[in-house]
Symmetry: C2
């Protein structure tokens, strides 16, 4: 196995977030389920945008956020995901490259516009997401850069990719390449409804192809169709060598073959918008793993990165995370 030149390559939906404050009754009026992600078509995206308040636009996408976070911590990263050659697509590219990631995926020259996620942040700081996948549906196995993946310690996949058949294939090809190169594969379950949509496929993946799983309580309960977290933990431990379950303000639980570690959440200066909390937890954790940190330390890095992201609108870091965790950006 050649020495790795990258720490983490992420594969995910290349999405630009459009974020506005909203009252709870806005969600009710527009048939949204608070805290969840709903897939919408372009017409509904237009209708919601026209109805929502003054917005802040910021690059997003679950794996994209994680990769930008790892780069901000000082890690070497790459990203694979599909944008269109339009204004939002250029913005996504600028931001992930400016964060320090390699981004080899060619933009689509035609077809649907760059994906956007219309995010409503309610006064309780919860986010409710409406995603028009747009150009993401054109991500295929051809976009899976084998050399890039083989060069990275971890390949990180977001569960949301399962919402598009072509991206599922890309997902499988990437994890095969990674394992053949002796690398590790990490997966985020993304969303409880996403887990419900693809439950049996995710079960197989976690059992056979995933070395580390990221999820939250709602997702792991959905995966095992139980309301008992302890039962879910027992089953999860039997299926994967390493997992981290995030529990919002309560922190996270890290599971390895012989350890269960509870990690408190890091104190946040203020909680403004919880978008990206899970993505940045994964960033901190994976960065720790690539630096051979103890699991408890990986979890603390995750908590710290998440605490920065929830202190402002948007799911990309606004302060250099390597300063927050007190490591040199040279890693």
């Amino acid at each position: 196995m050649a020495a790795s030149t990258l720490d983490v390559v992420g594969i995910g939906n290349a999405i630009v977030d459009v974020i506005a404050s909203a009252e709870d009754d806005f969600l009710v009026r527009h048939g949204m389920v608070k805290g969840s992600m709903m897939l919408i078509d372009e017409a509904r995206a237009e209708a919601i945008y026209n109805a929502m308040g003054s917005a802040v636009v910021s690059s997003g996408g679950s794996a994209g956020n994680t990769i930008a976070g790892i780069a901000s911590l000082g890690g070497k990263t790459g990203f694979i995901g599909k944008v269109r050659d339009d204004a939002l697509g250029r913005e996504f590219r600028h931001d992930i490259v400016a964060a320090g990631a390699v981004f080899p995926t060619a933009p689509a020259g035609d077809g649907p516009a760059t994906a956007r996620c219309l995010i409503l942040v309610t006064p309780d700081s919860q986010r409710t997401m409406n995603t028009f996948l747009g150009a993401c549906v054109n991500l295929t196995t051809d976009d899976i850069d084998a050399d890039l993946i083989a060069s990275a310690q971890f390949t990180y996949l977001e569960g949301y990719l399962y919402d598009q058949p072509a991206a599922q294939e890309a997902f499988h090809k990437a994890s095969e390449i990674a394992h053949e190169a002796g690398r590790k594969v990490a997966l985020s379950l993304s969303d409880p409804f996403c887990v419900q949509r693809h439950r049996s496929a995710f079960m197989k993946l976690v059992d056979h192809h995933v070395d580390m799983l990221f999820c939250n309580e709602g997702e792991v309960l959905a995966l095992f169709e139980t309301e008992n977290l302890q039962r879910a933990i027992v089953r999860l431990r039997s299926m994967t060598e390493l997992a981290a379950i995030t529990c919002g303000a309560y922190g996270s639980i890290v599971l390895s073959a012989d350890e269960t570690i509870e990690i408190p959440a890091a104190p946040a200066t203020q909680v403004v918008d919880t978008t990206g909390a899970g993505d940045l937890y994964a960033a901190g954790f994976l960065f720790g793993l690539t630096r051979k940190a103890q699991l408890a330390q990986c979890g603390r890095f995750g908590s710290l990165a998440a605490s920065e992201i929830i202190s402002h609108f948007g799911a990309r870091p606004q302060t250099p995370l390597h300063e927050l965790i007190g490591v040199s950006s040279a890693g």
Copy 2:
């Protein structure tokens, strides 16, 4: 004089802000003067964008920020400014309309792209602005909606308009219409360098056409070419019936014919990005005037609105300002 149907109409450059964190040496390397606004061409805008970090995009423009702020306080507002019919132009329109303002100005169908301001926020929370005026240069007297202006208690003009000859004419036409309708005209001096560029024109304006002036210390010192604030205050009082001088963290000084009132800054939960502090001070102050509040109360509304805007990236309010100042949005 007919009853006013609007509180404030703003006329200004219609700009979208592109905001990123930067270290001080980034400013040095790119020849920027910290805290100031520099006009740049499209090629330099591209070069700076390519060099700057991951960005947040949010509607801006000095008068646009003020108008959005007044709307958020519960005031009835309108805005006049020129965008192109491109993606950023649609974003600007969405945001000012979503804030609650009337925005009758037709977008340009050709010519330069929608204006953008590349804002670098340094670790001391200061902002340094680089503005490509783009479509703003196409604002002319034809865009000055006489009925809109005659219907508003205040017409609010930003000094930055003086950087384009056609906009200067629009500026004069608007203040004539306002005064003929028995309304008041307010002006913001915008920036010390803008004052230096147009000093004698601004002197005449303030002396003969402006009922209320907003400025900061640096701007009023530049206007009277003095380093003595007391001397500047004496001269300013002789020229205009009402003025407010903002002094950053120290608060503001309000000058009327027979009063000098010192207003403390409102405590900010955190200071992240000072972009828009002056614009939102003007929003609070003008809103107070339209509600016949005492001058000290107008100043306090200004301080409160400014304290919200500096607590996050971007110069548009992210929480409803009428809740902050404890007035009903019905006003």
